[in-house]
Amino acid sequence: GAGVSQTPSNKVTEKGKYVELRCDPISGHTALYWYRQSLGQGPEFLIYFQGTGAADDSGLPNDRFFAVRPEGSVSTLKIQRTERGDSAVYLCASSLSLAGVYNEQFFGPGTRLTVL
């Protein structure tokens, strides 16, 4: 079946603008995760959802970042008043569930955000 998809694949914006990044998880996966990866680094956790609710948003860097998953499927990561330091690849992943030790997360191709 289809994997995790993310749109857009690339987004260029100007400092101070608002952006939305979308993630479509694998059908039937109840858990969804957002990570951010800066150049030369490993991905860093931002937030994850179990169903519609944000189970852990401890990785969001500040209140300019917000994510929703209103129907328990598609998720949108929203960044207000973008800053140049927000430039990174934003990765989304999904897994069948949170519970259990077989928590294999399947990643999407990412959205490369560039803030000018």
Partner: protein, 112 residues
């Protein structure tokens, strides 16, 4: 913050040779996973090893886990040019947390 740390940061080998990458982590874990990433984009899951397992195989991949040393290794046998990528270890600490914590990765180059 990043818990895992891969070693070496970069590795260059000839096609057909074996590649070994190591990962160290700091806290107790539920499981450890290895991912591959091409060209800085999507991550491909390679293998998951649980904290009560010591070794796992998948095709040309062999992963070991030593929880007493808080370390893991990934061995790729008979490497191919297509194995050229960055490899990351990621840990799941459990205890109510389901976020993966990644290391900085090892950049592997396999020369044809």
């Amino acid at each position: 913050s990043q818990q895992g740390e891969e070693d070496p940061q970069a590795l260059s080998i000839q096609e057909g040779e074996n590649a070994t990458m190591n990962c160290s982590y700091k806290t107790s874990i539920n499981n450890l996973q290895w991912y591959r990433q091409n060209s800085g984009r999507g991550l491909v899951h390679l293998i998951l090893i649980r904290s009560n397992e010591r070794e796992k195989h998948s095709g040309r991949l062999r992963v070991t886990l030593d929880t007493s040393k808080k370390s893991s290794s990934l061995l790729i046998t008979a490497s191919r040019a297509a194995d050229t990528a960055s490899y990351f270890c990621a840990t799941l600490t459990g205890a109510g947390s389901y976020q993966l914590t990644f290391g900085k990765g090892t950049k592997l180059s396999v020369i044809p």
